[in-house]
Assembly symmetry: C2
Homo-oligomer: 265 residues x 2
DNA sequence: CGAAATTTTGATCACGTTCAACTTCAGTGG
DNA sequence: CCACTGAAGTTGAACGTGATCAAAATTTCG
């Protein structure tokens, strides 16, 4: 519970409440998975943020080929990072979930190499990349957190590569569902055995490199085999053990940033 | 040869020479693509390094499931990061080239999520992850460099996802060759229009999610269509424009770390 | 030089794409 | 309230691509 009981403890209960409470924003929850943040860190971080930004479903947040230099911490909603090829085919590189950062990696390039589209209505906390860099110089732990973030992202991508490269379609779909569930659970947006899947089958197929009909058949088969149950976009894992075995799913999560005897310049 | 000319030595012209010279180690070349390093930075970095490590071809450097907490900066040689599935199929997530870091991302997990095998004999510069973290606290620019590194890696993975997800086999192979070439060229290990490809077709097929025979046919076709020429493992792009068009290849490289008015703690 | 690894070629066939039609459902205006 | 629209999900049939298996040719290496 009280991961931050150690902060400084100046204030009575408020701090620890907000610090570890259910109502914390997903991004900070994610950060706390990587390292400890004291109250001063939090204040410094929050000082960077612009007012909350609300994005409508279906809006492109980032456009392939245009400059974009912001970090948008996703508080609510889903997005998809994608690219369309000449032949009209679209590949979704990854789904951006609460606790993820839109602008990672696009803001690290002169021109965004991908587009990002909002799948649902979204709420974002925004700061400029420059501001975050500034913070990183003053408090290196934020730079390290950024590294951990990026590494985590790379590892997720690696899993995705393995998934579409060498798994059969049925395994691929199973793995995908488990992965999304794990990522949502990691930021407190899913329960033990199920989650809300606000993603159309067309998008899933574009993420998994399958055709829509075939993806549909695979989902049907998972249902027929009593692995999952779907009721208006809520996915429930009926037989978690079985589907994990099928997908050969192993949850991926980076270790914490090692804490030395801290900053001594 | 004189990669370390810059180490202690207080000589005037040597420094700037070594700083941008052809003979610099690939990793530092890579770093310099992200940000400026002064002599003091270099010394601090080199102080972390263990003696050079030589690895024999075919050796596993990292083993899936075991702890590994080092950063190995590749000076010479190629490696492959991979995972094998239950059915015996292997997916190569990415090839590790000079200037890359073995241990990224595996060292950021409690247990390595992938294996890494040396494809050729290798020369590595090694330090512990902890030591690098320490340096990052003292000099935040290294933490930022690490972020840029990880982001670059994630972006390369994203390209790989797009490649195997939505490109046809022939485009896939073409893209792959262009990508490897670009990455080698970025650290000075390839010439304008060709490069040494020390990777068996079996490995390529495991990276691209194709069968060996089919990969072979695609390579033949690229040769027949006068896109490439291969002479004992040296690939030459005969018609660079054509193959780029075929692959829809766009080189990917992160912008530089923005320099504010620098560290003011 | 012999053995093993790698590349190349061929024949067959299953799998997943493609294309098409149909269903279901939510939203909208007459 | 119902007809209309468009998006999303579902099902079927036919086709073609790329996997699979097998074997030969070639190269690499001990």
């Amino acid at each position: 519970m009280s991961d931050l009981a150690l902060s400084t403890v100046a204030l009575p209960p408020r701090t620890s409440e907000a610090a570890s409470g259910q109502d914390e924003v997903p991004f900070l929850r994610r950060l706390r998975g990587y390292l400890d943040l004291n109250r001063s860190d939090l204040q410094a971080f929050e000082a960077l943020l612009d007012p909350e930004l609300r994005i409508k479903k279906r809006r492109d947040v980032v456009c392939d080929g245009y400059e974009f230099k912001k970090l948008c911490f996703v508080k609510e909603g889903y997005a998809a990072r994608y690219k369309v090829l000449r032949n009209g085919k679209r590949q979704i590189v990854t789904f951006v979930l609460p606790g993820d950062i839109i602008g990672m990696p696009v803001s690290f390039f002169d021109y965004a190499p991908y587009s990002v589209v909002a799948i649902t209505d979204m709420v974002l906390q925004v700061c400029t990349l420059e501001a975050f860099i500034g913070l990183s110089h003053r408090r290196p732990k934020f730079a390290l957190a950024l590294s951990w973030f990026a590494v985590h992202e790379a590892a997720n991508h690696a899993e995705h590569i393995i998934n579409i490269g060498r798994r059969t379609p049925i395994e691929r779909v199973a793995f995908f569902l488990l992965e999304i569930h794990a990522r949502l659970a990691n930021v407190g947006c899913a329960n033990e055995t199920g989650f809300k899947l606000d993603i159309t089958q067309e998008m899933m197929s574009d993420a998994l490199g399958l055709s829509v009909p075939h993806l549909n058949r695979m989902l049907s088969r998972l249902r027929a085999d009593d692995m999952i149950a779907i009721c208006d976009r809520h996915v429930e894992f009926v037989n978690l053990r079985a589907i994990r075995a099928l997908a050969q799913f192993q949850p991926i999560k980076p270790s914490r940033v090692p804490t030395l005897n801290s900053a001594n310049p």
